[in-house]
């Protein structure tokens, strides 16, 4: 790694006033450092370098700006650098306002950096606070996100995981779930946004986080929001249901065409099922899901699904849908206090289930490995 004198020299090259060719080589070197763990660890204790990178995101040279953003993305992917970046540089105050510029070329990189920095609660709170102070509140963020083609040169897809990360904070959820506004309703259609798995995943994550607040379940499932079709549609396929089953479904799921395709990403499918599972935690939620005929969709989905983790989530949901109602006083499953020994037993069962899945996966891989030998024979 660099000696003290070498670091000092390199740092002197990383200024706005430096000649472009020298500066370019210096930023290229730093970018190389950010490509591996040792380099990131080295830079973690070098706030001056971090500051220089942030400053040079305004450099006249596009190539240098590009390298700096690339380096900052790499650094922000490392959790240990979140605090130094947020606390010891002006990365937030410098980058966030540029989101509002409809012509800024590097907005997608800013979104990526912000979604990285907001992944964990501590710096997520810092990002949230900075957004408020810089007049890019959640209101404006959602508006930018929902305005198709807001930035002519950037897709802004990574605003979705940023929103998802922010909704780990109660105050962010409070805004999204504000009954006096129309916010969550505008996010719902993106659960089927074909052009970007990032957008779909981010919005589904946002919805899942919002469903942890069970007091809102009745409102979310009512006509005012009608969250259910947007969770089910990505899980519904082209299978033909009977007339009776069709008419019992939410309007959006009736008479789906032959070319209907399900969500392709297993992680998103799993998140959708987890969200539906959360909605079955309350009595009113269970009643609504049953009355809306969710079961036939899950039945066909279960036949189609291949991923074992997703199948497991689906089976849990089906169990909740067809199971008996809990005893009086236990209707809200999220409020029930589980005795310690029961909780430990449940965790033990979960661990065993995970172990079994890993074993099944290994056996599957083994059987796949055996097949070439069979062919050779």
């Amino acid at each position: 790694m660099l000696s003290e004198d070498e670091a000092k020299d390199l740092l002197s090259f990383l200024t706005l006033e430096m000649r472009a060719d020298v500066k370019g080589q210096a930023t290229g070197y730093i970018l190389g450092l950010t490509g591996n763990r040792d380099g990131c660890r080295y830079l973690q204790s070098k706030p001056d370098f971090l500051k220089a990178l942030v400053t040079l995101t305004s450099d006249p040279s596009i190539a240098i700006v590009k390298d700096c953003f690339h380096a900052l993305i790499n650094l922000s992917a490392d959790e240990t650098l979140h605090q130094p970046l947020v606390k010891e540089t002006e990365i937030l105050s410098k980058l966030i306002p540029k989101l509002q510029d409809p012509e800024f070329v590097f907005s997608d990189r800013i979104c990526t950096i912000l979604s990285n920095l907001s992944r964990h609660e501590q710096t997520c709170r810092d990002v949230f606070k900075a957004l408020q102070e810089l007049n890019v509140g959640l209101d404006r963020l959602v508006e930018i996100f929902c305005t198709e083609g807001f930035n002519k040169k950037a897709s802004l897809h990574y605003l979705a995981p940023l929103l998802s990360n922010l909704t780990q904070l109660p105050e962010a959820r409070h805004f999204i779930l504000d009954k006096d506004r129309c916010v969550i309703q505008r996010l719902l259609p993106f659960t089927q946004y074909e052009e970007s798995i990032t957008r779909r995943g981010g919005v589904v994550g946002t919805l899942r986080n919002c469903c942890f607040d069970y007091v809102h379940h009745e409102w979310l499932l009512s006509d005012a929001v009608d969250i259910l079709p947007f969770l089910l549609l990505p899980l519904a396929g082209p299978e033909e249901l009977s007339e009776e089953e069709n008419e019992g479904l939410p309007v959006d799921l009736q008479y789906l065409p032959e070319d209907k395709r399900r969500e392709e990403d297993p992680d998103i499918r799993k998140m959708l099922l987890e969200t539906l599972m959360l909605l079955t935690a309350t009595k009113v939620g269970r009643q609504i899901l049953k009355s809306k005929n969710v079961y036939p969709i899950m039945r066909e989905f279960h036949k189609w699904e291949k991923d074992p983790h997703v199948i497991s989530a689906c089976e849990k949901l089906v169990q909740a849908l067809i199971g008996d109602e809990p005893e009086v006083g236990m209707e809200n499953l999220m409020e029930v206090e589980i005795p310690k020994d029961v909780e430990e037993k449940l965790q033990e069962l979960d661990a065993k289930e995970q172990e079994q899945m890993e074993k099944d996966k290994q056996e599957l891989e083994k059987s796949q490995n055996e097949s070439p030998e069979g062919l050779e024979r």
Partner: protein, 402 residues
Amino acid sequence: MAAPTQGEDSDDGMDEFMEKFKTQKYHNAFNESNWEEEFEKVPMFMKTAPENIDPEKHPDLACIQHIIHDDDRTPEEKARSLKDEGNEYFKEKKYKKAVVSYTEGLKTSCVNPELNAVLYTNRAAAHFHLGNMRSALNDATAAKKLKPDHNKAIIRGAQCLLELRNYAGALQWCDEGLKLFPTDKKLQELRATADKQKREADRDARKAKVKAKKQQNEKEALLAAIKERGIKLLKTEKPPHRASDSEDEDRDEDTSRALADLQLDGISSQEATGARVYMDEQGVLHWPVMFLYPEHSQTDFISAFSENASFIDHLAVMFGEELPPWDIDQKYQPQNLQMFFEDPEKGNLYQVDLQESLLRVLQHQRCSVKAGTPSFIVLVSESPFSRQFLSGKKVQRLKLLK
């Protein structure tokens, strides 16, 4: 010469005029009983102006009012005055008059964009209540252009788009409005309604598509079954350019969808009952069939004649216990009946073996189904009418391959 003539005419006219007063009484004159009432209508003598000036009743006052509106005041003052007038009409639900007032207000060359936005918005509201959705939408759009944050115009425009079933447009207007007024309850309500109705319309479109697809599949299966059996179909009205009388002659195996639809017109039955050939779950075809009795100018219609049933099966039922009232001689006994179909090309008659099934007869190379409905002529054998009917016609006995 002209001058004396003109003078003469003038004198004649005057004489004629004066002559009238000797024989006719003068109309519309004030009289002792109505002179006060009539004076009241003359603006100069009017004591109080009426609340509503009806141009038909008070044309003079309407003219004066118009002059007053036009003179002295600035365009903005005129526009404001006309807006208030329109608002009065609106309150009284006189929407047409309100539209007229607002329109006059917009013509005043007033340069106040806010006032003009109000005039457009109010006219939009009047049009809306008259059911003129497109005019209302145009006005709301004009108002929004003048004053982009005019809440009432945005709400009105979204309402119009909703009525016009342009749900995407309505949603767009609502979102635009909610950007400016995030907590506006009316906009949120409208957005929810537009969203819901759009999804219902989308579902209806999908349902219709599924239904049409299903019907298309059934039609194709039906046509395939008919072709498979070698049965020929005739269209009711043949286009002039079609050379062949038989639709299926010399046709490629893989018929395109459009051609299939065209051919299937031949299956449409002209019967009022709407009965048509269909295939049951076992793959058996059932045809609507006509029996013609030319001796008595009568017909019978069998709505579902199974292709596997024989003619005698139906005749035994139709001419069983009770004979038809038109059979005065009671000759139409099943064992006495003959049945023929006509070759549409040459006009020859082919006699049918009553023991044969419908399918076997339809498969004959000279048999074609017209208007989706096979038809057969029924006669009493050896009867005088039969002899007369068949004389001059070439009759062949149907030879079916075993």
